[in-house]
Each structure stands twice: as C-alpha cells, then as structure tokens.
Symmetry: C2
Subunit: 470 residues, 2 copies
C-alpha cells in the first residue's frame, strides 16, 4: 500500500467566472468567494485536504437551493451541500472543484406533529437544536452520532450512534423528504404515514446517498416519547472479551437496552484526561436503560446478571440527568479526547460493523493487531449493533505511520467483510472507503449505483467523486 | 369515472417462438406452455384479468432465474416473478405479455443465524414455512400480511400486516438480498450487519419495487426472540370512533402493543358466519401484547384503562395459544369471510394509511360515505399504524357497482392524501394505484422512479406496466 493511493486523483473542473457572476447577481451577500469561508467549507473532520470550492452560497430557502443548483447545472459545475461540517470520510471536499451550498441557515422546525410522533425540519438544524425545539412536547429525537451534526448531514450519511441499538438509524427514522434534484427541480418523497408501499422507496435511496443524488431541503423524522424512567450505568470488565461477551448475550436475549457502548482502556484514559473524570482504566461498558420503572428494573437486573457471569464489576449508577449528561458528554468527546492525547496528531477512524455473533472475533483480532503495530489508538464502539471505531492517532508528518494505520484499517475491513459485515456502519463512504465499498458489494452492485447516479445526475454535478468512481 | 379507465390499455409484446424453444431447450420439463398453468400464473387476488403469460418457467436455482432472464432479455420479452399468487393489485398480470418465472420451488432456508437474529432464505418460502423451519430456535419472523405469502412477494410489495405496529414492515426487516438484474447478472445488496452506511441503499430500493427492478433470489430477514409472555384480548366498543380513539391514545402513549386491529360490525358479522364464532357484532379491537410477564401486565392495564374511558367493554382474553390462533385465524380470514358473505361477488380492497392523529377523520368520513353508497362492505384495519382496508363487495356483472366502489376508493385516497397519508400502506401500486401514486408523489417523484427504471431495465422487461406508465 502506498500513501499516494489514499485519495483519488484530483481533477478540478472549470468553474467559469460567468457562473460566479450569475450567483452573485442572484444571491448578493449570500454568495461569497472569501478565501477563509471557502477554506472552511472545503474540509471536514477527515484527514484529507483538497482545494476549496470556488464560492459558497448561504441558502435561506428551498428556492435558493434550487436556483443555485440550476445555475450550477447550466455550467455543469459541481455543488456540494454543507451542513455542520462534521463528516468523517471527506464527504465535503471539493475534489472536482465547484461551489458549496451552506444549509446551516435553513435550521427551522417547520412542523411539530407531536400526536403523530413526527417533526418536519429544514436540513441545517442540528440534532441538539432539534431536541431543544421539541423539549416541551414530551418527545425526543434519539439519533445521536456524537457530534452535533445537522439533520440533513445525518440523513445524507445514514448516521446512527449510541441510541441506534434501540431506536434504529436515520434509515429507520426518516419518513419523508423534500429534495432538490440535479436539474434544480423540487420533488417530495414519502408522506407522514408510518408505512407505505407506494412505489420505489426514494426516501431511503436519498438517505445515505451523501449528497450525490439530490440535496434535501425538508426532512420529516420520527420522534419518541421520553421514557418514563431512564438510568445509566458504567461497568468495568477484566478484558475487552468479557465486555463484548456481555454485550452479545444482552442482545441475543432481546433486552431492549437503549445504549451499550464499549470503551477500551486507552479511550478511558484519554476521556479521563479530557473530561476530568476518574473512571477505572479498564475496558468498560456504558449503558442506558429506557422504559417504565419496572421495565428498567427488569432490564438492569438481567444485564447485571450477565455482566457478573463475565467478571464485570458492580454497576456504578448515574441516575440524575446531570450525572447522565456528564457521562455521555465524556463518551461523545472520546474522539476529541483521543486526538488531544497526542498533540498534533490526526485520527483515522474505522467504522466496521459485523453481525453480533462475529463481534468478538472481529474485535479481538483487530485489537491484537493494533497493539502489535505500536501506533497509539483508542477504541470505542456501539457494540450492541456490532459497530466499533478504532481511532488510530498518527503523526501527519510521518508517512510511515499513515501507512501503518491504513494497513490496520484495511485488514480490519477485510476481516469484517469475511465475517458478513460492512466497511461502514455509520460514517459513509465518502472518499476514504470507495475501494472498500467495491470489496464489500462487488462490481455488480456498484455498477447499479453508478447507473442510478448517471440517470439522476447526468452531468455529475452533485458531490461528484464520492462513494464510487464515475 | 369510467370502468374502462380502471386498467391501462393492454399492449401485448411479441413472444417469439424462438424464445419459447430456447427456454424449452434450457429448462426441459421446468418450462411449460400448458394453458391451465399459464392461466394460473396470469392472475392474482385482484379483480383484474389479462391474457396469461406465454410460458411458465419453474426455477430451482438462482442460475435458473438468471438464465431465464438472460434469454428473455435477448428477445426483449417481459418476465414476471411469481411466488404465492397472493398480490392484491394486479402485480402478477402479464399486461404486456411475456413469461412467468415461478419461484415457489425455491423455498429453502439457506442459513439460520439464530445468534444474530437473522435468517437467509430463498424467495419462494412462505411466511408460515419460514416460521415452521425456525420453530426450534426460540425466534420468530413477525411480519404477517394475513395470506401465507412468499417472502419474495412480501419483500417485493413491502408488505406488513398485523404485527407491523410493533415490529415494522418488510422495509425495516429485510437486511440483504441477492438479486438477478434485468440483464441476468447476479448481484448482492447489503450484508448481515444490522446497520450500514456503505453506499446507496439498494436493498430498500428493491424492497417494494414489485419485480420491476430485479428478481430477488436470496433474502436475509431479521428475526425476533419469541416473547416470554403473550396475551390477546378482544374489546367491543359502542362506535368505530371509540375504538379509533382508544387506538390513537394507545399509540401516542408509546405502549409497545404488538397488534391492534379494528374490525367493524359488518366484518364481525362476516367473520362470525365464516369462522363459526360468536363475537359481539359491534366495532371491536383485537389486540395482542408481547413482553415479559410484568411488561405485558403493565401494557394491558394501560390499554384497558384507555378503552374504559371510551366506553369499551371488559376485555375478553385469549390466553392459550389455541384460543389465540383461533382468533387470529378469524381475523386473517376476514377477507375471505367478506367475499363469501355475498355469493359471486368480487372485492375491491382499499389500502390507505394516514398519520395516527388523522385516523379518526379519515376513517369516520369514509365509513359515512360507504354506508350512504348502499354497497356491501367490510372494514378491517391495522389501525395502530393508521392503515385500514375497506373491502367493497361488488357484483362483477354490474358495472354501476364497480363505478360506485371505485368512486368510494377514489374519494378515500383523496381524503388520505389531503391528511398527509399514502394511497398504499402495504399492498403496493400494481395496476390499480398508478394514478393514485401520481396524485400522491407528484410527477417529479414518479419521473425519478421512471429514470431509475430506465437505467436499470433499459429494455423494460421486468414486470412492465406496473407502478407507473413507462
């Protein structure tokens, strides 16, 4: 493996001055070519770099998005939708040049339908803003990828996170969309009905398409009643294997646990340093239980019993909302805690997901290999779903380390695929996993994706160069 | 509205004798042109009729399917996949001629992965056969459209039924597929991982595509642990409105009820006659609760209290598996009970689904209109999902009655769409709802479906003439 292979070649397409002029005429101060703004919109949380987009349009409405896309289409220039900038696989990079459409101002709640457990929002609203807006309804939006991502970005990446083991991912929770197509047309997919057999599932085709098939301008998602009782617990284990076996048995017994997160001893150490906690520096599970008071009691008793069989310590409870928030904030900051543990480092984050019965095999081999490599790393995982993330912490000025980290990632993906798993549980393909996607699905399925892309975006202007070569 | 508008014009494409000869050479006795077999494969449970396919190929393997499709592709002749023949919207009719591929012999369980709560099957296995095959695992496959449909057909129609309120539909429960494409290529979509962000969601694009984008040859679905405790109850109400309000409140409170089915007094009468039961001839809810013993107790207490507020009678319990089976068999036979209640009649079944808060409005207006029309009907509904079915029982020799029934259906769909609902909760579009689909999604979304169809099936050979005009 060679570091030069890590990014596809960059072929910038021409952005004619006439397009910039047309955008400035149409959008005035909403359109900028300022270097700093362009730079900010040309990167994400990945370790990749590419030249920035030629202009950024701050959209205030669906019509703005449609008009910007129509103008770009006239000149066959790429457009990349930008939400919160938190993607991890290079999804936002302008690898073929083009313009960025910033959706962060489109952050309104359009309709709260509490009786139907749905809400319709604009794409730029973040998950925290959304939960703040609905806090008086007795409902909540559970999907939680850690970062305060935008709902548009989460939909486009088919995100999930800690609560997915109970509440599903964006795949299960997006009901309906308004989408601007590659020609600048505005279409609607789905309705607020809970289920439907009315034609092709365009909603789910758009969810996870990473901005390559359309730009979402309205999103209807499912909400859930706030559970009557919530309790969170931490449990330390003598080994990663013991923690993983506890997880597997919990899931196989059908316990409706809301969160079950693995944090390895490296990650605990980094989180302790970053969040000023004193968690025991051993592999641990962070868990949360939702339900009626008696239901939560039943669940916790079952899981405590399982954990005990595998040598787990007594549960440490976080029962007040404040304690729980502190614990989950620490978990959510694990990525930043890891990056800060090695000054100047960049993280390469893995994202494999395997069937639960294969989790121990996949994880333990990968841990052994990471330990042997000598590269610093942290390991956290949404293990109830079979999904986990190594963060390899590499010195960006040391190409050897990047090669080591990429080799670990490559071996991990190969292992996950051989165990019936996927290369990406929740981060998407972006630039980084294009080769892995081909390994996972085979050329036939990628050809089908390509045929769909060609049909819906014949000029290849919607976030080109992502997911597959085209 | 005119009865002649109910079916699109039939334009039979030529099936050249050379194709039949090639199929007979390749398939021998697996290929038949016998009139009776062709007739059987050219109809479904809908009230439509079209000329039968020119030949039927009984596939034993994926290779058989691929070879049959490749031959058909060479001659640009339509192919229609056939499972159990239980579709309701004309999905199986050879409206453009062609050949039928019967998948009922491909009914093997390929892999039971009980630890992962998944099973991989061939498409011809029926849901009852599947549950029989896994009965020793402690798991079950909950999706239950009433008819003993094939898993392939259920996937292709995005079916659901009585358990969907708790366990979701085929959309949520199909994890991965093997698919034969329009060119006869075999591809795979998805993996056994519970979640994935790896590229376009081809699995969900295929689910609900009604055989127009590919033919599924292997299907991996999710299983669930058999609940520790199950109890079923019947509750009569003074009015449909009271039953519906009870349902709405149950759902809005987040009670994880497994089944909550409305049966109106007409349907109760027909079911009593057909299944020799003595249910009170009033609107009723049939309910089932799954969980731990204490969880089921909590759920039932909550729902009993709600029902009491709306004038519901005391629950009548069916606690033994035999009593429960008898009750649900009666519910599942409601369609046949209705058809038998009027000798010689045909049923037109509606399938709208609305957000739960709109259910009372949608249902009550539609009941009033149906009563006023004078046409016999029954009404049953998966009301927990906002989905319900009128069965209008019409004399096929009386065109006036058909027009009356179609007008009722038309008005019902318009009402559901105006309430943010869908024209089809679970039966699919087929031939019958092509106009409704356009009303529901608008031309832009249907154009997008058409573009995908054109890209994946340029010769338009996969079940042509269904879902949208092409």
């Amino acid at each position: 493996m060679n570091a030069a292979h890590l990014l596809p070649e960059i072929h910038l397409r021409v952005v004619p001055p006439a397009l910039i002029a047309a955008l400035q005429t149409r959008f005035g101060a909403q359109c900028t070519v300022a270097q700093a703004v362009r730079e900010q919109h040309g990167r994400d949380e990945s370790s990749f770099r590419a030249p920035p987009p030629s202009a950024v349009v701050f959209a205030d409405s669906t019509q703005d998005v449609a008009d910007a896309v129509q103008l770009a289409s006239q000149y066959a220039v790429p457009v990349i939708a930008y939400g919160a900038g938190s993607s991890l696989e290079g999804q936002l990079l302008a690898v073929q040049g083009g313009i960025s459409i910033d959706l962060s101002r489109m952050n309104q709640v359009l309709s709260i339908d509490a009786e139907d457990l749905t809400v319709t929002v604009q794409p730029g609203i973040t998950r925290k803003q959304l939960n703040e807006a609905i806090k008086d309804t007795g409902l909540f939006f559970p999907i939680d990828p850690g970062a305060d991502a935008s709902i548009g970005g989460m939909s486009a990446t088919r995100a999930s996170g800690t609560n997915a083991v109970r509440y599903g991912t964006m795949r299960e929770n997006v009901l309906a969309l308004e989408v601007v197509t590659a020609s600048g047309q505005v279409i609607r997919t789905g309705t607020r009905a809970k289920k439907s057999s009315a034609g092709y599932d365009l909603t789910r085709l758009m969810v996870g398409s990473e901005g390559t098939l359309g730009i979402m301008t309205e999103i209807t998602v499912r909400l859930y009643p706030l559970p009557e009782a919530v309790s969170a617990a931490v449990c330390s284990f003598p080994s990663i294997e013991a923690a993983v076996r506890t997880t597997i048995q919990t899931i196989q017994l059908g316990v409706p646990i809301a969160r079950i997160e693995l944090i390895d001893r490296h990650a605990v150490r980094m989180v302790n340093a970053h969040s000023k906690l004193q968690l025991r520096e051993e592999p641990m599970l962070l868990m949360e239980f939702h339900g009626t008071p008696s239901g939560v009691k039943e669940q916790t008793e079952t899981v405590q019993e399982i954990a005990g069989e595998f040598g787990g310590q007594a549960f440490e409870w976080a029962s007040t909302p404040e304690e729980r928030s502190r614990l989950w904030a620490a978990r959510h900051n694990a990525y930043f805690a890891a990056v800060q543990s090695r000054p100047g480092c960049r993280a390469i984050s893995t994202d494999t997901c395997v069937p639960i019965s294969r989790l121990a095999d996949c994880l333990l081999e990968s841990v052994a290999e990471a330990e042997a490599s000598g590269i610093p790393y942290s390991l956290v995982g949404h293990v109830g779903d079979g999904n986990f993330h190594f963060g390899y912490l590499l010195d960006p000025d040391n190409p050897e380390e990047r090669i080591t980290a990429e080799t670990l990632n490559h071996n991990l993906v190969a292992r996950a695929l051989s165990l019936d798993g996927t290369c990406s549980g929740e981060h998407g393909v972006g630039l980084h996993k294009m080769g892995f996607l081909l390994d996972e699905t085979g050329a036939g399925a990628v050809d089908m994706m390509r045929a769909i892309k060609r049909a819906l975006d014949p000029k290849n202007i919607l976030n080109p160069g992502k997911i597959f070569a085209f």
